[in-house]
């Protein structure tokens, strides 16, 4: 999906409808590939982007690797598998080197293993975070998380590492930064799959947004936010939308000598340009901070999310009437 400036110089056209993407949108999202309208359709599930872009050309999207599983006494990733005893032995060797202060040798030992074996070692090791930080360690000995290893880690291990202090709501943002969009969306979806209760689902989704909002890299924030299904994002706001005063009149427009009020909901309409930051009309300060951070990264996604959550409030009202 390359960005093709088919229009005039510096102009970017929508990959779906080929209209020119507005400069205002490109200023906020320099790598935007869709116009606001098509983006909205994709987010609402009205347009299958993969089918639209790839079917005719025969290009297939690269499948996301499946995370590591335990099958009887073996750890399995795709075609690779390792016995518990074997992986535990490698973990023990790494631990012995670390205890002796031989970090470089521990790094060499871990990084010489296939990616799948590194992921298995992280799962089995007594301190998974430390083991993971060796998988992406650079030549200067700076710890780092290997993106491919992260992609292979089981959801519950990742969630424990990301929300390492649930009570204080402190998140390992470096680990989130190391996640691919596929790994991120899979992890978010799998944390929500078993949860039936709407309030609990809202709490989980909102915590994901809080964690995402803490990422410094706005592009990564946008990339990961876009990877999550819009319906799931909307759920985060179902218990918070009452903090949003979308009926507030923000300005007025004179038409034929009559002043018409423009309410805040208009700011989030599909065809609106980027509006004021959400915190301007959100009563709860913390909610406002999270929304601002994500809005700055991907205003179109956040607008669609607010619209969706706002409209969900009125689901079923017709039946009552």
């Amino acid at each position: 999906m390359n960005q093709q400036p088919f229009g005039g110089e510096g102009e970017v056209t929508c990959s779906v409808c080929e209209i020119v993407i507005s400069m205002a949108r490109l200023q906020v999202i320099p790598d935007a590939k869709l116009c606001v309208s098509c983006q909205g359709k994709v987010e609402r599930g009205l347009l299958d982007l993969n089918a639209h872009l790839f079917d005719s050309s025969g290009i297939q999207a690269e499948p996301e690797p499946q995370p590591l599983e335990v099958q009887e006494d073996r750890l399995v990733v795709g075609a690779w598998s390792g016995g518990f005893m074997e992986v535990a032995e490698q973990s023990g060797q790494m631990r012995a080197l670390l205890r002796e202060g031989k970090r470089e040798e521990a790094q060499a030992l871990v990084q010489a293993l296939p990616i799948e074996a590194q992921a298995a070692l992280v799962v089995v090791d007594e301190d998974p975070e430390e083991a993971l930080s060796i998988t992406g360690m650079d030549g200067k000995g700076n710890p780092g998380y290997h993106t491919q290893v992260v992609s292979l880690l089981p959801t519950e291990l990742l969630t424990g590492l990301i929300a390492y202090d649930g009570e204080e709501k402190r998140f390992n943002t470096r680990l989130i930064q190391a996640m691919t969009p596929g790994a991120f969306s899979r992890t978010v979806a799998e944390t929500l799959d078993p949860v039936d209760n709407a309030e609990a689902r809202a709490a989980v989704t909102w915590e994901w947004l809080e964690a995402l909002a803490e990422l410094r890299d706005a592009n990564k924030r946008a990339e990961l936010l876009r990877s999550v299904e819009p319906e799931l994002l909307e759920e985060a706001l179902t218990t918070r939308i009452h903090h949003f005063n979308l009926n507030k009149t923000i300005t007025s427009v004179e038409i034929d000598g009559v002043n018409w009020g423009v309410d805040m909901f208009r700011v989030f309409s599909e065809d609106s340009a980027v509006g004021p930051l959400p915190s301007k009309f959100i009563e709860d300060e913390k909610v406002g901070e999270v929304m601002d951070s994500l809005y700055e990264a991907a205003p179109d996604v956040m607008s669609a999310m607010v619209r969706g959550a706002w409209e969900r409030q009125f689901d079923g009202w017709e039946d009552l009437e």
Binding site: V123, E126, D127, P128, E129, E156, L157, T159, G160, L161, I162, A163, Y164, G166, F171, T191, P194, V195, D196, N197, A200, A203, V204, E207, W208, A211
Partner: protein
């Protein structure tokens, strides 16, 4: 970091207190269980804890409390299921465990637990409509709580003093519920007129123990009312006790009448015995305070009942006061 690693299973005692614990102890002692049974059982409990934690998470990571709750629930179900499958026979229970099909045993227990919890919920709603429910304050509070029970989740809604939904134990709470039911069945067997009169006149400090004290006095003196006059209280003190001990003929009479009433009203033997024990404790309480003004120990109009614990607290408070004065 790994949620499974954070769960300390040693906190969940599988000891002789539980039926599973007894079966494991017996199986291990006589080599009737495969050596890996304990490890397999702990692994099973971990998996169930994780499953529960995943379904009931409230944030990105699974809270330790969620995992623990899942393990506790699985352990209770396992215990109840094993008891049921083996009909309480430990040798058969060892055989069951040896097969290693923990999930089938847990499911058996889960079904029993579900029906018991449902019985608690429905039964509480029913008992709350009885006039005697408002009479027993502690029991009344429990019934109100259990009426909001959701059997599928083993939780009930928080009351005014609580912040979040509370776990209901399908075994312990069920036992307390049956005990409450037995107490209320017993109270229902007391003539309505006498009970209603007491209910109308006593608005504070209502308790099962307090009511039993009034009943003991009424039975001892062959009264038709549950509210004694000051003369009757003096008579009770002077004629029913000698040297701080209840006269044997009075004790026998009271206990005989109580037993007859209990047999007619409470079907379940263990709960009948429990009430009888409380009656004996209250007689012992009278003996303890014999010689004092008994008026403070009965449920009377406009007075708050005193319990044995209150009395003990008073003694402790007096001792502390004495110590302060001495210093």
């Amino acid at each position: 970091m790994n949620p499974l690693a954070r769960l300390d299973l040693s906190r969940f005692q599988i000891d002789d207190e539980s039926f599973v614990g007894q079966a494991i102890a017996l199986g291990v002692r006589f080599n009737k269980l495969p050596p890996q049974t304990t490890d397999a059982l702990l692994g099973f409990l971990r998996a169930k804890g994780l499953y529960y934690g995943q379904r009931n998470r409230s944030g990105i990571a699974i809270a330790r409390s969620g995992l623990e709750r899942g393990v506790r629930q699985a352990l209770i179900c396992l215990d109840m299921g094993l008891w049921n499958l083996s009909q309480g026979d430990l040798n058969r229970a060892v055989e069951c465990l040896g097969k290693g099909d923990f999930e089938a045993t847990r499911k058996e227990g889960y079904q029993i637990a579900f029906f018991q919890l449902e019985e608690i919920r429905k039964g509480s709603l029913g008992l709350l409509t009885r006039p005697t429910a408002a009479f027993l304050q502690e029991e009344h509070r429990n019934l109100k709580r259990w009426a909001t029970l959701v059997p599928e989740t083993w939780t009930r809604l928080p009351d005014d003093l609580e912040e979040e939904a509370q776990l209901v134990d399908a075994r312990i709470d069920y036992g307390i519920f049956l005990q409450t039911q037995a107490r209320m069945d017993f109270l229902n067997s007391i003539p309505n007129e006498a009970l209603e009169q007491l209910q109308q006149m006593v608005s504070e400090g209502r308790s099962f123990e307090g009511l039993l004290r009034n009943l003991i006095l009424a039975l001892a003196l062959d009264l038709e009312t549950l509210i004694p006059s000051s003369e009757e209280m003096s008579q009770f003190e002077s004629t029913c006790f000698k040297d701080g001990i209840m006269r044997s003929e009075i004790r026998e009479k009271v206990l005989h009448l109580m037993d007859r009433q209990l047999e007619a009203s409470v079907l379940d033997g263990p709960y009948r015995s429990e009430i009888r024990v409380v009656v004996e404790e209250e007689i012992a309480f009278f003996e303890q305070v014999s010689g004092e003004d008994l008026a403070g120990f009965f449920l009377l109009a406009g007075k708050k009942a005193v319990t044995a614990d209150d009395l003990l607290d008073d003694v402790v408070a007096d001792d502390l006061l004495d110590e302060v004065i001495m210093e």
